[in-house]
């Protein structure tokens, strides 16, 4: 008998969710993580004394509520803030607010307001259709079995039931760019760019790039499945990890932290367990990795343990990212022009026009630092005082676009970029620079080093259409089971991707149970 039925690599949210579902079904599960606390990218770290931030995920907005229900996370102590309004900051202080279906401010007119309601309605209709695909394994198209055929049927029917106009529209826009779609629907520049930002967050694409509607749709689907709106986790993102770890262990899963995995072992034709950095060998019927595909296959398993066509696909799997995090420790609450103190707790967005976003993107392509960036800002200490010392505040922002390896090197680039970012913030929050007592930039290569995420991509690999759905991460390994017997994927590198949806973990567990892989 093996040490465990399943060993799960990575105690991030997907790994813990997967573990919980499997443990609930009575299986012996071990979750391993090299870090000292659970949560992975949804964990809390004190980057300066008393100032707590999350390395990546900043918002809780796409988490599938069915997982919440199945695992009773609310009962286990998960607390969320109220849903945030998105405030798209304008230099003149007359900001654009987006609250559900309502938009106001910045001179937006009734035509655009009506158009926005229509757009939201359409997107939610599309998202509703996508849920047929998201809450389950992506169907195979040729080698499908009856389960896949059922999914395809539901999809086809759902498509037809959307009505001819919506159906035509979806099939028309799903592969194109957000820039053109925005220009079709709206006139207001800031409105267009604020929505466009949602389409490109977490990617290295600009609004003109085809595939951006798909990434927007992915996010919209997550939000539809979540129904929480954009919220923050009270206690810091790490509270999510803590709750999930608690739930997992209560269900019977074993959690072992400070245990980095060195390699996945293979015996004969199948995977047989893992070996830790410490040298300890653990045997299991299945190994389920929530690490990104490149790390899983190239670093943990090793190319010499798989066939070459597959190794080639791993090498070709794209994980580029232009996304960075900015963390600021502030000695007091900053003043943003045109915002009340209470509003500082909302989701604050700074973005140039869509053309400006494209211009901001260009230097990244050539390994240079941009002079203008987009910001998705949270000052979580407004709603949650535990995240900063008394009367002080912490600001965290998702920033685009930064190069992976600037020609000048990060040592020189980091201070330059920081100065630029602070100067950009000054325009909207005069004096903020003088409040900064500590600062930190987390760039893609940092995430690679600290979290083992190849390329530093939050989705564990680009979520472009050719790496999505029944092609994620690549043909041969798309339904959570990989082409290597006994090895499964349950992280964002599997369908449906990232965004803190929890679905890869849940779907992987259900797939394993349905296949009887652990019997």
């Amino acid at each position: 008998m093996t040490d465990y039925d399943a060993v799960i690599i990575g105690a991030g949210h997907n790994g813990l969710i997967c573990a919980t579902y499997l443990a609930k079904a009575g299986h012996r599960v071990l979750v391993l993580d090299g870090r000292s606390e659970p949560g992975g990218c949804a964990s809390t770290r004190e980057f300066a004394t008393g100032f707590k931030v999350s390395d990546c995920a900043q918002w809780f907005s796409q988490f599938d509520r069915s997982i919440n229900k199945d695992l009773n996370l609310d009962g286990a102590g998960l607390k969320l803030s109220n849903a945030k309004t998105t405030i798209s900051l304008q230099p003149d202080g007359d900001h654009l607010t987006l609250d559900g279906d309502h938009i106001a401010g910045a001179g937006v007119d009734p035509v655009d307001q009506a158009a926005y309601r229509e757009f939201r309605k359409m997107m939610q209709r599309f998202a509703k259709l996508m849920t047929h695909l998201y809450r389950g394994r992506p169907p195979k198209l040729v080698e499908h079995n009856w389960r896949d055929r059922f999914t395809l049927m539901k999809l086809g029917l759902g498509l037809k039931m959307m009505g001819r106009e919506y159906m035509q529209d979806m099939m028309r826009i799903v592969m194109i760019n957000i820039y053109d779609v925005m220009n079709e629907h709206f006139k207001h520049d800031a409105l267009k760019s604020t929505i466009a930002l949602d389409a490109v967050t977490g990617t290295n694409m600009g609004p003109r790039s085809p595939n951006t509607v798909y990434s927007y749709l992915h996010r919209a689907t997550g939000e539809f499945l979540s129904q929480t709106g954009t919220t923050q986790v009270i206690g810091g993102m790490g509270a999510l990890g803590a709750v999930l770890a608690d739930v997992a262990t209560k269900q019977g899963a074993t959690l072992q932290l400070d245990s980095p995995v060195a390699s996945i072992t293979k015996t004969d034709d199948r995977v047989s367990g893992v070996t830790l950095d410490s040298g300890e060998a653990i045997s299991a019927k299945l190994v389920i990795s929530s690490a990104d595909p490149k790390t899983t296959f190239r670093d943990l398993l090793g190319y010499e343990k798989m066939e070459v066509g597959m190794a080639r696909r791993v090498e070709h799997y794209r994980s580029r990212s232009g996304t960075a995090k900015l963390h600021l420790a502030l000695s007091s609450l900053p003043q943003f022009t045109g915002l009340t103190d209470r509003q500082l707790g909302e989701r604050l967005v700074i973005t140039p026009s869509m053309d400006g976003m494209e211009r901001a993107l260009n230097p990244m392509k050539y390994n240079e630092i941009s002079t203008q960036h987009t910001f998705d800002i949270s000052i979580p200490s407004v709603a949650d005082a535990s995240l900063a010392p008394a009367n002080q505040h912490v600001l965290t922002a998702i920033v685009h676009y930064v190069p992976y390896a600037p020609d000048m090197g990060w040592e020189a680039a980091r201070p330059q970029l920081l100065t630029t970012l602070l100067a950009e913030l000054e325009v909207y929050a005069p004096g903020i620079g003088s409040l900064v007592t500590a600062s930190e930039l987390i760039v893609p290569s940092d995430l690679e080093a600290s979290h083992g995420m190849a390329g530093g991509n939050w989705n564990h690999g680009e979520l472009s259409i050719d790496q999505a759905l029944m092609m994620r991460p690549f043909p041969g390994s798309t339904q959570y089971a990989t082409a290597v017997d006994g090895l499964y994927l349950c992280g964002a590198g599997a369908h449906p991707g990232g965004g803190l949806q929890g679905l890869p973990g849940r779907n992987a567990a259900k797939e394993i149970l349905k296949r009887g892989a652990l019997s």
Binding site: K140, E143, R172, H316, D355, N362
Partner: protein
């Protein structure tokens, strides 16, 4: 007041009465007219310009030199149509060319050879690994080409329709993809959604090799080499053939005007009429059906069938009264993306320019020549277009047809065609000025001169066309050479708009046959033919339009 005798009026109406009127004597309009006339209809093709051809023209703009001043090479012209309309009998001869190269900044070049072994050695000169990988690339890309070719001469099925014919066509379409097997099918989807840069990166390591091939992915598009969807555009440059040699390109002897000329002769041989200097003002509609067209000078031509060979924007926004159109069509036409991104220089040369590193007698000179030796340069050229200006370091597709076709220039002299990416439809949001045009021309001449010491001195005459000229002279809105961008939202059953992708317009009797319909742009004549097939079917006339040859 003297009134004209009723008999004269009656005569006029009878004289201008046709079974079908085609607006626009571009190659698709002429093809459409020819098939309708072949079926026995009385057809008139109306052309605004004093000459026919649209973008397939040869113009003697400098005495002794003929310019294919818009389209300049032929590969995609359907052989079924060429044969069927007897175009060779009417004067068309397409001569394939070999060769082509990308010149490098370091004085070297990367040459393109049609012979497999020869091409291997050229690739191997740069990288043995890439030379070997080329076979894998060829096989994978050929697979994609073969998948799509059978659908060029077919009407796209409507996936939202429940009509038996559409369901049957959709099923057949799906089946050809399913036959690939799971992995190859997924690879096909990946190919259709990938960028040409990422696609090429999966095969090759050498910059100039990638750059040479990537150009085919951006020609005529509003996209860059790293924009998803550009790998698909490769197909538009690979899926043609000359005499069954798939992927080959050729020159129409006498310039591209020979295509229009042979099509017009074929059309006329079936009794068709071509009327030039006929500028259509409006398609006339009565009680929901078309009755004909009215010209700007008041002349009317009557017909129960009117086919527009103008691009979809022009068709629905310029020559139809908005009150005759459903609202959704107006909206879709306004949103139809047709941004131009190309320009052209047509140059008369006093001799053959010498390019660094290449013997002027080298066969490579007869093919397509380029100067952008890296993907980065091509991407930067695209950045300029996005910023609303012409590329400072433009991607050029340069050819010297007179090295293959002796009719284009006097002996020993040459005609050079330079196709340029990128040039925006508007410069920083405003109309092109003559100053802009000069700046654009200079950027191209400078680019070529960087690689040739004697080029500048050989220039006898230069015709420069920005999107402004292309739109004004050819009627291609915003100067888009494909009459509509080739992105998935405007291809197949989405071209030009969902619900109107089977050549029928929203008004009874109104049809479309331009490149703004499936299978899209490039000199294919397929849109014209497919449209004719639908028209004849609606009129319950026997079909004269051929299907495609079995392709193996």
């Amino acid at each position: 007041m003297a009134t004209s005798p009723p008999t004269l009026e009656l005569l006029e109406t009878v004289v201008n009465q046709y079974d079908a009127i085609v607006i626009g004597a571009g190659h698709n309009g002429l093809t459409n007219g020819a098939y309708l006339a072949k079926a026995g209809l009385k057809v008139a093709v109306l052309e605004r310009n004093p000459y026919i051809g649209g973008a397939t023209v040869s113009r003697e703009l400098h005495k002794g030199w003929y310019y294919s001043n818009c389209s300049y090479v032929s590969s995609l012209l359907r052989p079924e149509i060429t044969r069927d309309l007897e175009l060779p009998r009417h004067g068309l001869q397409v001569v394939p060319f070999g060769g082509g190269a990308t010149f490098m900044r370091n004085g070297d070049h990367f040459g393109n050879y049609s012979d497999h072994d020869r091409h291997y050695r050229e690739l191997a000169r740069h990288s043995k690994r890439d030379a070997n990988a080329y076979d894998r690339y060829s096989a994978d890309t050929s697979l994609q080409t073969k998948l799509i070719r059978p659908y060029l001469l077919r009407t796209p099925p409507d996936p939202t329709s429940l009509k038996p014919r559409d369901l049957r066509d959709l099923l057949e379409f799906a089946r050809s993809f399913m036959n690939l097997g799971e992995e190859k099918l997924l690879d096909t989807i990946k190919f259709w959604t990938a960028s040409v840069g990422d696609y090429l990166n999966e095969y090759f390591e050498t910059d100039v090799i990638k750059a040479h091939m990537a150009g085919s992915g951006i020609i005529g598009t509003a996209l860059g080499v790293y924009s998803p969807g550009t790998a698909y555009v490769l197909l538009h440059h690979y899926m043609g053939d000359v005499d069954g040699n798939v992927g080959a390109w050729g020159f129409a002897r006498g310039g591209m005007g020979a295509i229009a000329s042979s099509l017009s002769k074929s059309f006329q041989s079936f009794g068709g009429e071509i009327i030039c200097d006929a500028n259509v003002d409006e398609i006339m509609v009565k009680n929901g059906s078309v009755t004909g067209v009215a010209l700007k000078d008041g002349t009317e031509y009557r017909a129960p069938v009117v086919v527009s060979n103008l691009d979809p924007k022009r068709t629905f926004l310029d020559i139809i009264n908005p009150s005759d159109l459903p609202k959704d069509v107006l909206k879709k036409a306004r949103n139809f993306k047709i941004r131009g991104s190309s320009g052209k220089l047509n140059i008369a040369l006093d001799g053959l320019p010498v390019f660094h590193g290449l013997d002027p007698k080298n066969k490579l000179m007869a093919g397509d020549l380029h100067f952008s030796d890296s993907l980065e340069r091509q991407e930067r050229a695209y950045d300029d277009w996005k910023a609303g200006t012409w590329s400072k370091d433009p991607y050029l597709d340069m050819m010297i047809p007179s090295l293959t076709d002796p009719t284009m220039a006097p002996p020993g002299k040459h005609m050079m065609s330079v196709f340029v990416q990128y040039a925006p439809p508007k410069v920083e949001g405003r109309e092109w000025t003559d100053e802009d045009k000069d700046g654009f021309e200079k950027s191209v001449i400078d680019q070529i001169s960087n690689y040739s010491p004697n080029f500048r001195d050989l220039i006898l005459h230069c015709e420069t066309r920005t999107p402004r000229e292309i739109e004004a002279e050819v009627g291609l809105t915003e100067g888009n050479i494909f009459m509509g961008e080739l992105t998935f939202d405007q291809l197949l059953f989405n071209r030009p708009f969902p619900g109107y992708a089977q050549y029928r317009g929203p008004i009874k009797g109104m049809y479309m046959c331009s490149s703004g319909t499936h299978p899209g742009g490039g000199v294919m004549a397929a849109p014209g033919a497919n449209s004719a097939r639908e028209i004849l079917s609606d009129l319950k006339r026997p079909n004269t339009v051929p299907g495609e040859y079995a392709d193996d």
